[in-house]
């Protein structure tokens, strides 16, 4: 073996430095914890948490364990992220397309939106919506109904709840519809390749998606009713709404600001993606006789998506990470519930901060692995 000293020395120094730093930290941590009488361990996760959380997707109260509190926080984070991602994507695509509009007013309006919202810190926007804008909403007893069923008040948004019977049958019917659509798509592709005939797959799928769940209402015994929130007086001046689902103002402020902020970045991604497809592509596609719809579906979109999706996934990741700002307005997300309340109660700084970071890290890395896989799949195969 012909080891060169020049190759080994830098690596050795770096590794030694890293080991030294980590060793130094662990050594100090051990001494500090001994001095303060804290023991290291994750056993506290199964202990009773004895604190309450205002808003939770799963059943939770003080008698549940810290691990359950962690799950509550994680689910709340995921809830905000998913709602935010959906709204931001819709808004971002619309604004991104609008920025390419030949209409001067629409173009400038979209540009104004992008420049305005992305140059203001997200935290400031969250504070603005939560402390200034949503505080100006009416009290529950003064609220006017929107479409007769929604109530937007200072205590949050009240929406009707769905009450399902035989929900599982309904879900099965949707799965069945999805399976049928996949089979039809495969069949249609075969038919087109063999005989050149085109089957209107889109309309058939739309019909299936509508008809099969509808059938489940008539045959499967599924029924759906709504529970409209009703105003109830607690004391002389204190009112709340009962029934229905209530969305706390923290959630509204957070999703609103997250999606308005992230939509500006997604809009820029979409714009860059569509601009990135050469004009020649469109003209070439038209010249071989494709209809405008086909040009969009078969030529423009696949190429634009290749440019759009990687940065957009990054924005989704950013949104998920930014949702941790929820701690600033007391929305019970992972950071507030776990790295805030649970840390205060247990004092297990190292364990809790590391679990929180590890959770976000897992989330990010799994998404970026997925993205890399997707990127490889759609990348142009060049020889």
């Amino acid at each position: 073996m012909n080891f060169k000293l020049k190759d080994i020395v830098p690596q050795l120094i770096t590794v030694l430095a890293v080991i030294f730093i980590f060793g130094f930290f662990t050594y100090n941590a051990q001494i500090n914890m001994e001095n303060r009488g804290i023991d290291f361990g994750y056993g506290f996760l199964s202990q009773e948490s004895s604190f309450d959380v205002q808003f939770s997707l799963i059943e939770y109260d003080g008698s549940h364990s810290y691990f359950r509190a962690y799950l509550v926080g994680l689910l709340n984070t995921i809830l905000v992220s998913v709602i935010g991602i959906i709204i931001a994507t819709i808004l971002g695509v619309i604004v991104g397309v609008a920025r390419l509009s030949p209409n001067y007013l629409i173009n400038k309006f979209a540009a104004f939106y992008v420049e305005f919202f992305r140059n203001i810190p997200l935290l400031l926007q969250i504070f603005f919506w939560y402390f200034a804008a949503l505080r100006a909403l009416p009290l529950p007893q003064d609220a006017e109904a929107i479409f007769g069923v929604f109530f937007l008040t200072i205590k949050g948004l009240y929406v009707p709840a769905f009450i399902w019977q035989n929900l599982s049958i309904f879900l099965y019917s949707i799965v069945a519809a999805a399976l049928a659509i996949i089979i039809i798509r495969i069949h249609a592709k075969k038919v087109q390749e063999n005989q050149g005939k085109q089957i209107p797959v889109f309309y058939i799928s739309l019909g299936l998606l509508f008809i099969i769940p509808l059938l489940s209402f008539f045959i499967g015994g599924v029924s759906l009713s709504f529970e409209v929130p009703v105003l109830k007086q607690l004391a002389t001046t204190s009112f709340i709404y009962e029934g229905g689902v209530s969305l706390p103002p923290e959630l509204i402020a957070l999703t609103l600001s997250l999606s308005l902020y992230t939509a500006t970045f997604i809009a820029e991604c979409v714009r860059a993606g569509i601009q990135g497809v050469g004009k020649g592509q469109k003209e070439a596609a038209a010249s071989i006789g494709l209809t405008p719809n086909q040009v969009l579906k078969l030529v423009i979109m696949p190429q634009a998506l290749r440019i759009i999706i990687p940065p957009t996934t990054n924005q989704y990741l950013n949104l998920t990470k930014n949702s941790s700002l929820a701690a600033a307005i007391a929305y019970p997300d992972l950071v507030l519930v776990f790295a805030g309340t649970a840390l205060m109660q247990t004092g297990k700084a190292i364990e809790i901060v590391s679990i929180t970071m590890f959770t976000y890290l897992t989330l990010s890395i799994s998404i970026s692995i997925l993205m890399n896989w997707y990127n490889k799949r759609i990348a142009i195969q060049e020889k």
Partner: protein, 480 residues
């Protein structure tokens, strides 16, 4: 005169359509205008629903009439091309015009007409508009945090001096141009560091460090003039040795006394705040995160597998976690990792945390630039017999950095926008001060004014920076 077909306006009856269309368009805008500015409802005699939609319908018909291709009238063609290409666009344009007209009066009255500017107590703010008096009274707190009023000239003086020193590059003559990089990368940050740590804080915060650090940095500068044969060993040994000697062997109380500037009161970092803290933090983080990021970008593309994996691990770790948890870590977890008698100031911990966090993003941006360079550049440099460092310093990095200017600017922009998060560790820059002022019992209920004020300031800073980076990008655009 040919027959008029109102569904399909054409050029033969140009003026009929033009007058009719412009009239309808004008009426629709006038209606909305009067409605929103003077509360006059011209169409009040109609049913509610129709009265609401009438301007839209009239404007739509008007725009339909004046949509005549190649009319020969320049302005009309421009109008058609820009806002009136088809029915759908016409409706959208009308909606936007109406929204602008509708939203102007309430905005104007809130911002200017009904707003109160005079006075210095809450009593003057009885109108429905904004209370700018609140901002006026609190402006010092928003700008300087809890920094004592009598000492604020120190912050002003430091910023002015640093700005002047920073603009030296514009006035440098050709003779000094070649030293500019050295100046901006090493000397200027050092001066800024001295200014902030000795002048703004006014005392020997970390004095035992600063001697060592200054000596180490000076020795690095001197190191550039050491013969190249010995350079490697010089850099390996001298700065660290100097630092250790100064810190552990030559450290006496008299030296602390030496460093104190006479007549300046010490202001602890907990009292710093407001917009000036935003600037201080962004400035230091930018200075620190750039070299760290560059090192890890080079590390990630290094040929040594161990260095590469360590770099990848570092970058992916910081990129995967939210800044707020990093700050949490610096606040509650980091003190556990240090020796018990070893105390690092809150602000410094915060700057370290943000710098490491941003360095990972900077590293990815720089890596993008390194990857974008054609292989030929590397090969050409190697064929001239350049080593790794020479190749990177003289050939690769100057080109790669030029490519990534917009990316770096965006990262820096994100950094500025992230500074409000330091409320997590209890430091209050402008947004934190707003939240504090909002809870003052004498000044309850002015949250909106405060947030709007901060939003305007941040918007101006960030927008100016993004425009500047765009200009730089245009200036340094290298054609390939």
């Amino acid at each position: 005169m040919s027959k008029k077909n109102f569904l399909k306006p054409d050029k033969s009856n140009l003026y009929t359509y033009l007058y009719l269309g412009s009239f309808l368009f004008f009426i629709s805008i006038l209606d909305v205008f009067l409605n929103s500015f003077f509360k006059l409802n011209l169409t009040g005699f109609l049913p509610n629903f129709l009265s609401f939609l009438l301007p839209l319908i009239l404007g739509f018909i008007g725009l339909h009439f004046i949509r005549i291709e190649y009319s020969g009238i320049n302005k009309l063609d421009l109008l058609n091309k820009h806002i009136n290409t088809n029915n759908f666009n016409a409706i959208l344009s009308l909606l936007i015009i109406f929204v602008i007209i509708k939203s102007l009066p309430p905005l104007l009255s809130w911002f200017v007409i009904d707003a109160s500017f005079a006075g210095d107590s809450k009593d003057v703010c009885s109108g429905s508009g904004a209370c700018w008096t609140y901002i006026k009274v609190w402006i010092r707190r928003f700008m300087y945090g809890m920094y004592p009023n009598a000492e604020q000239w120190r912050i002003n003086l430091s910023f002015v001096a640093l700005m002047l020193l920073g603009s030296v590059g514009y006035f440098a003559t050709d003779r000094f141009k070649k030293y500019l990089t050295l100046y901006y990368v090493v000397i200027y940050p050092l001066i800024a560091f001295l200014f902030i740590f000795f002048f703004i804080s006014g005392g020997p915060v970390f004095f035992d460090f600063s001697y060592g650090i200054i000596a180490a940095i000076l020795s690095i500068i001197i190191g550039f003039f050491v013969p190249s044969k010995l350079k490697f060993y010089y850099f390996l040994i001298v700065p660290l040795a100097l630092y250790i000697i100064l810190k552990y062997f030559l450290f006496f109380d008299e030296y602390i006394e030496l460093g104190k500037l006479d007549g300046l009161n010490w202001v602890e970092t907990g009292a710093w705040g407001g917009l000036s803290l935003t600037f201080i933090i962004s400035f230091f983080c930018l200075i620190f995160c750039f070299p760290i990021g560059m090192a890890f970008a080079l590390g990630r593309r290094s040929g040594f597998p161990l260095i590469r994996y360590i770099s990848i691990g570092f970058i992916e770790f910081w990129r995967g976690v939210p800044l707020i948890t990093v700050l949490f870590m610096s606040a509650v977890m980091f003190p556990m990792f240090l020796p018990a008698d070893f105390f690092i100031d809150k602000l410094v911990r915060c700057i370290i945390a943000i710098s490491l966090f941003e360095a990972a993003y900077v590293a990815e941006v720089i890596r993008g630039g390194l990857q974008a360079l054609p292989r030929g550049q590397y090969e050409a440099a190697k064929s001239l017999g350049m080593g790794y460092w020479r190749m990177h310093i003289f050939v690769i990095l100057p080109q790669a950095l030029k490519l990534v200017i917009p990316g770096i600017a965006n990262t820096f922009l994100a950094l500025v926008k992230d500074t409000p998060l330091i409320f997590v560790v209890g430091l209050l820059e402008i947004v934190g001060m707003l939240n504090l002022a909002k809870t003052n019992p004498k000044w309850l209920g002015f949250a909106m004014e405060g947030y709007v004020f901060a939003a305007i300031i941040f918007w101006i800073i960030c927008y100016a920076m993004s425009k500047y980076s765009y200009n730089l990008e245009q200036k340094y655009k290298t054609d390939r």
